[in-house]
Amino acid sequence: MSYEAVIGIECHVELRTRTKMFCGCANEFGGEPNTKVCPVCLGMPGALPVPNATAIEHTIRAGLAFGSQIPAFSKFDRKNYFYPDMPKDYQISQYDMPLTVGGEVKYWLDDGTMKSCGLTRIHLEEDTGKSAHAGSGDGRIAGSAYSLVDFNRAGVPLMECVSEPQIHTAADAVAYLEALRRTLLQLGVSDVKMEEGSLRCDANVSIRPVGSAQLGTKTEIKNMNSFRSVHRAIESEIERQIAVLESGGRVVQETRGWDEVRGTTHSMRSKEEAHDYRYFPDPDLVPLEISRERVDAIAARMPELPWQRFERYAAQYGLAPNAATQLIDNLALAEFFDRVAEASRNPHQAANFVLGDLSRLANESSRPVAESAVEPEHVAELIALVESKTINSKIAKELLGRMWEGGGSPKHIVESEGLAQTSDPAAVEAFVDGVLSANPKVVADYKAGKTNVVGFLVGQVMKASRGKADPALVNELLAKKLR
């Protein structure tokens, strides 16, 4: 029997704000343990939470980017369970009235196919602290002598984006995550760094026979630390579930952890062991009233989104999917490219220069293109010089290097240094004649049938002309004179 996987993704995204969700402590990654804490985020007796307006705005902005509805009323609830890294032993979260409802994430595959996955909701909550376990050798709690808790992260605003179960392959799941990450990064609401934990995701995976409309029993996969491990974990879990069903077994609803080393998932806790979180409205916080004006003001500042840019690059500029994606993944570079493309009206050449030579120079000097001395208008000038055959590609490359060093307008350099390509047949002919008379042996070899030496002769002519001779003309004249 062939099976279809049904996948839903839950992402936790730490928001980029100056201060934490409910207090004035700095929201920054890392630092000496327990230095970014106060009575509020330590859950001291009597301390009270006050919501961070920027975090609420970021969540609404994210919702609007995904086309979600923003209800006029929202509220915070308490999710009650005991855990040492959770200072109040409840987490302030949102239960039945999240800040955003519905919407979709548009994502694209490597071949450029545009797809979308529905969003159930985005809600806002606070992050927990971090535990470290000592004495067990491997950092695990089992066998540890004692545990330490760092509350620097406790109370950091955390946005949870829950997708509908509308994804069917591991590749799509990763493409969905890529699109979500790009969008949130572009909106400036989060750093979305998986390695720093500002983006964390869980996957709900189930399988069903192809053609069936009924959902199978799902498992929730946790501990995936990179997009690559998301891909591997989902593939592994689909395989595992298929094997379970094929051998006549039943998939059990449970939470499973991904083991990066073994490449398999393992059971963490079953549905029966799940907490009763006793959600109820947080009486320390008043319900949120989100005015239409506020939503409209946020919507009015919405930038061009990654999927919109991708479609524009494909439709308007005819860029290949991987070139478009490369640009979109480097927003400053994409904006630089847009200016070059617009000024030069040659998006193809613009993409070649921006993703090719300029990106190489940026890598070599560890300075982003957009922060270099190169102006997009100057790159457009360079493209025009190549288009008009005023210079050849070799000179163009050289010029880019000089522009990178602060050389300014390539047109100006060409004019002041006489670097314009020599297309005057008489002048080029003089160079050709000079090379031919200086290399009688090579000419003889050619005439004896070793026609590949023509490359050497072209090179000599270019050298003699200091690169300015029009290579096409050189080839043409050489062919004529050697005949």
Binding site: P39, G46, A47, L48, V50, N80, P84
Partner: protein, 495 residues
Amino acid sequence: MNELVRRGAGEIARAVRSGEVRAREVADAVLERVDAVDDRVGAYLTPLHELARAHADRVDRRLRDGEALPLAGVPLAIKDNMCVTGTRTTCASKILEDWVAPYTATAVARMLAAGCIPIGKTNLDEFAMGSSCENSALGVTRNPYDPSRVPGGSSGGSSAAVAACEAAIGLGSDTGGSIREPGAFCNLVGFKPTYGRISRYGLIAFASSLDQIGPLTRCVEDAALAYDVMAGYDPMDATSIDRPVEPAAPALRESLEGLRVGIVREFDTQKLGSELDGIYRQAYRDLQALGAELVDVALPTADYGLATYYLIAPAECSSNLARFDGVRYGLRVDADDVQAMYERTRAAGFGPEVKRRILIGTHALSSGYYDAYYVRAQKARTLIAGDFERAFERCDAIACPAASQAAFTFNAKSDPYSMYMMDYYTIPMSLAGLPALSVPCGWTTPPGGTLPMPLGLQLCAPLFAERLLLGAAHAYERSTQHARRHEPPVEAVSR
């Protein structure tokens, strides 16, 4: 006894500001009074002699520097569920017995900024859960009017301190009656403002949607002075109300001309026995004599107040008290793993009443019971608030008993339900978030007792009508003078 300790907050502040007496002299006199009587009263869990003197000296300096301090030199008793930097803040619980607060509650900070002198931290029912102070795990507080009787609760330490002249203002917190009932039991004005008027920041939460700080004082003027200092928006408390506060002290009145006072049909005082019935009926007549028009009003759902309260308050408390887990502060009883540590710590740290309410609240919020208990209680709460709204269409204030009896003897209410019933008259106002106070309205010698005990009249006004409420209470107090009828016999009681 130095006569300074008998003076009210207003009198002291005027005398200190005028230079008649220094704040330090007031502090010394009150601390001497504490040293002399508190082993018999037991109001304070932690007297703050050094801090009090340091603050008094600072007040004297600030006055010399020309600062205007509305409560200059006023001795303040602080219920020990409010944080004060560097002081032990226990909630009268073993779980916080040695916890030193790293910050100061907004309400306390405002009182200190206004010139108050912190005399000490007072006893309470553990985590403010109780109506007699008997649920304290750290000490016994006695009623200064009869040491065989309770001072009321949960703000019993603050009420006893003010009644015994160990402070001029006592800060209390009222969740279902915890300021008004001890006020009535100790011959004081016990005032709970509108929910959200005074910041809860630094008040260790019992039930967040009900908790409200307020003063216990020997006269209405002092209550108004304390209210004027503490009321107002606090950016540290999202539930505090961002709305201007009109000072109440200048609005105290002498007559009740033009005021319509509602008498609640369902609160039939005949149920309280003929003596108390007579006292309350006389109180209503006294209001009338001052010019008030008595109006018959109905609160048909008020009878559900107690049941509603004992779902909402425990539900919130079960979550609020989760943080006392032995991980970061307070008591920790070690065990092999964290789960066992939680269990042992909380088993050893909480008293029986706190455990009972955590269990009730956890149950009320559990999956499958939430709708039947918590949601229905919230709906009932809305209905009760609606009753008051309708009643206030016909009247400007409501008068009723503050408690169904005078202060009782220790262990008289060993059954929890009979203790819960002590808040029958105060809980509906709490659920509706309304400002309410108790003001002395007469004396009774309870059966089996030998000493006269005070009774309190409760007055309640619409949301934010504190000025009207305090004004009316002042007129009643001035014309009746019940509080002055008897002195607390604390000095006559043998050690």
